[in-house]
C-alpha cells in the first residue's frame, strides 16, 4: 500500500477535459482518426482509374462485413463529434477572451488557412453531409445505383456545378490539413527544432497530395478521361 493518496481517474479525465490544452489534445487525437480516413478514402477512390470492375468490386468488399463497416463508421462518427464539440467549446473560450477586437490587426506569422480552421471545418462538415447524400445514400444523386460506384461517380460528376463544389471543398480540406497535420503534434507536446520544420513541410506536401488525388477524379470525369 502506498502512503500517498492518488487523485481518481475520473477526476483526472475531467481536469484534462476542462483545460483548453486537454480539448486541443482531443482535437489532435480525433484529427488523426479523421486524417487516417481521408487518406484511406482517397487511396480507395483512386481505384477508379483501374476500371469500373475494380472500384465496384472494392465497394462490395467494403460492405462485405456489416459489423466491421458499422464499427468503423461508429469510430469515425465519435471522432467527428468530439472534434466538433471541442472546436465549438474552444471557440467560445477564445471569443470570450477578446470581447473587444482590434480595429487594426496585422498577423505576422500565421497563414489564412491556419486562422480559419473553424470556418474550413464547418464547410467540410456541410460537405460531408452532402457527399454522403450524393454517393452513399444517393438521395442527392440524379441516377444513383447501389454499389455501382463507377456509374455513380461518372454520372454524378458530369454535372459541372457538382464537380466544382467538390473541387472547392477539397481546397478547404487541403487548407485544414496543412495546419492540422503539424499542429496536432504541437498540441500533444511534440516539438523539436530539428523535426518540427520537416513536419510542417510534410504537412503541406501531404495536404497537396490529398487535394490533387481527390480533385483529379471530378476533373478526369469532366475531361472525359473516365466514362
Amino acid at each position: 500500500m502506498s502512503s500517498v493518496a492518488s487523485v481518481g481517474s475520473r477526476a483526472r479525465v475531467a481536469r484534462v477535459w476542462q483545460a483548453p490544452i486537454g480539448k486541443k489534445a482531443v482535437m489532435a487525437l480525433t484529427g488523426v482518426v479523421l486524417f487516417g480516413f481521408v487518406l484511406g478514402h482517397m487511396l480507395g477512390n483512386l481505384q477508379i482509374y483501374l476500371g469500373s470492375e475494380q472500384i465496384d468490386h472494392y465497394a462490395v468488399l467494403l460492405r462485405s462485413s456489416p459489423k466491421l463497416l458499422w464499427a468503423v463508421r461508429g469510430v469515425l462518427l465519435v471522432a467527428l463529434v468530439l472534434h466538433f464539440v471541442s472546436a465549438a467549446q474552444l471557440k467560445s473560450i477564445s471569443r470570450a477572451a477578446r470581447p473587444d477586437d482590434y480595429r487594426k490587426y496585422d498577423p505576422q506569422r500565421s497563414t489564412l488557412g491556419a486562422r480559419t480552421m473553424l470556418g474550413s471545418g464547418l464547410l467540410l462538415l456541410a460537405f460531408v453531409v452532402y457527399h454522403l447524400m450524393h454517393f452513399t445514400f444517393g438521395n442527392a444523386h440524379p441516377d444513383f445505383e447501389e454499389l455501382k460506384v463507377h456509374h455513380n461517380v461518372v454520372t454524378g460528376f458530369q454535372e459541372w456545378p457538382v464537380s466544382v463544389s467538390y473541387i472547392v471543398a477539397m481546397v478547404f480540406l487541403g487548407m485544414h490539413l496543412r495546419h492540422g497535420l503539424w499542429s496536432m503534434f504541437q498540441s500533444l507536446g511534440v516539438s523539436h527544432p530539428r523535426y518540427t520544420p520537416a513536419l510542417r513541410t510534410f504537412a503541406t506536401v501531404f495536404a497537396v497530395v490529398i487535394v490533387i488525388g481527390n480533385v483529379s477524379i471530378p476533373i478526369a470525369v469532366l475531361a472525359g478521361l473516365i466514362g
Binding site: A97, P107, S110, R115
Partner: protein, 249 residues
C-alpha cells in the same frame, strides 16, 4: 520626418474609447517610439489637454512595462524588440500609424494605451515559483546543471511579462507567457519538486483568468520581444499531460 498618429483614447475600462488623430511634425529619426510620444504629450500638456497614457519604465527593453499595438502588430513592426527600443528610423516620412492598447478580457484598459496586466501575476502566483528556504546561497557546484539545460532555461527566463504574446494571439491566449515560466523552472533541478503541481496549477490559472486557448499560430513567437519559441508551449503541454496522468496530485 512627419508622422500621423491615430491613438486609442479611452478614459477607463468602463467608458468607450475611440481613435484621435495627431499630426506630429519634426519627428527625429533618432527618437525612440516612446520619446516621440513624450514630445506629443508635451504638446498636449502645453495646450491644457490630457496627455496620452502609456506604460513604460526602464526604456531599455528589459522591464516589460511598455507595449501597445502599432498598425496591428504588438510592439510594432520590428522583431524581437519592445516598443521603447523601436526607433523612428524604422518608419518613413508621412507614415500613418494606428496605436491601440493590448486587447483581452484579462487585460482591462486602465486608460488609453495602458492596460491592467495583473492577470499575468495571478498565473505566476499559481505556481511560477520554487519554494526554497531563504538564507545563505548554497554552494553553486553542489547542484550540477547541464549547459544545454541552463541555456534553454535562460532562453525561457528572458520573458519580461510584457503581455505581447496575449495581445498578438487571435485567441488572447497566455500560453507563451505561461509556457516560458513552466520551461524556465521545469528545466532546472530547483524546479523539479513542484514541477507537476506547477504545470497543473498554472494551466488552470490561465483558464480561470479568462485567457484563450492556443491554436499553434505562432503569432506570439513573432511578437515576443525576447523571441521565445513556441517550442516552450509544447513543453508545457507535455508537462501538463504528464502531471495530469502520472502524478499523484
Amino acid at each position: 520626418m512627419r508622422i500621423t498618429l491615430h491613438v486609442w483614447r479611452q478614459k477607463n475600462a468602463k467608458e468607450a474609447g475611440s481613435f484621435v488623430r495627431y499630426d506630429v511634425p519634426d519627428v527625429s529619426e533618432h527618437m525612440s517610439f516612446l520619446e516621440m510620444l513624450d514630445v506629443v504629450n508635451e504638446g498636449l500638456i502645453a495646450k491644457g489637454q490630457d496627455p496620452i497614457a502609456f506604460d513604460h519604465d526602464c526604456r531599455e527593453g528589459i522591464c516589460g512595462m511598455c507595449g501597445f499595438m502599432i498598425n496591428g502588430a504588438a510592439h510594432g513592426p520590428l522583431r524581437g524588440t519592445t516598443v521603447c527600443q523601436l526607433h523612428m528610423r524604422k518608419f518613413s516620412d508621412g507614415d500613418e500609424l494606428w496605436l491601440e492598447p493590448w486587447r483581452a478580457k484579462a487585460f482591462p484598459v486602465l486608460r488609453d494605451l495602458a492596460v491592467d496586466r495583473s492577470a499575468l501575476d495571478r498565473i505566476i502566483a499559481a505556481g511560477g515559483f520554487i519554494s526554497v528556504p531563504t538564507g545563505s546561497a548554497p554552494e553553486a557546484n553542489a547542484l550540477p546543471v547541464p549547459k544545454e539545460k541552463a541555456e534553454l532555461s535562460m532562453d525561457a527566463a528572458a520573458c519580461i511579462g510584457c503581455g505581447a504574446c496575449v495581445a498578438a494571439c487571435p485567441n488572447a491566449s497566455a500560453s507563451l507567457f505561461t509556457a516560458a515560466k513552466v520551461t524556465h523552472l521545469g528545466l532546472l533541478p530547483q524546479g523539479q519538486p513542484e514541477r507537476s503541481r506547477r504545470a497543473i496549477a498554472m494551466v488552470a490559472a490561465m483558464n480561470e483568468n479568462g485567457f484563450g486557448h492556443c491554436t499553434n499560430l505562432a503569432e506570439c513567437e513573432a511578437a515576443c520581444p525576447k523571441a521565445i519559441s513556441i517550442e516552450t508551449i509544447a513543453r508545457m503541454n507535455r508537462d501538463f499531460f504528464a502531471a495530469s496522468f502520472s502524478s499523484r496530485d
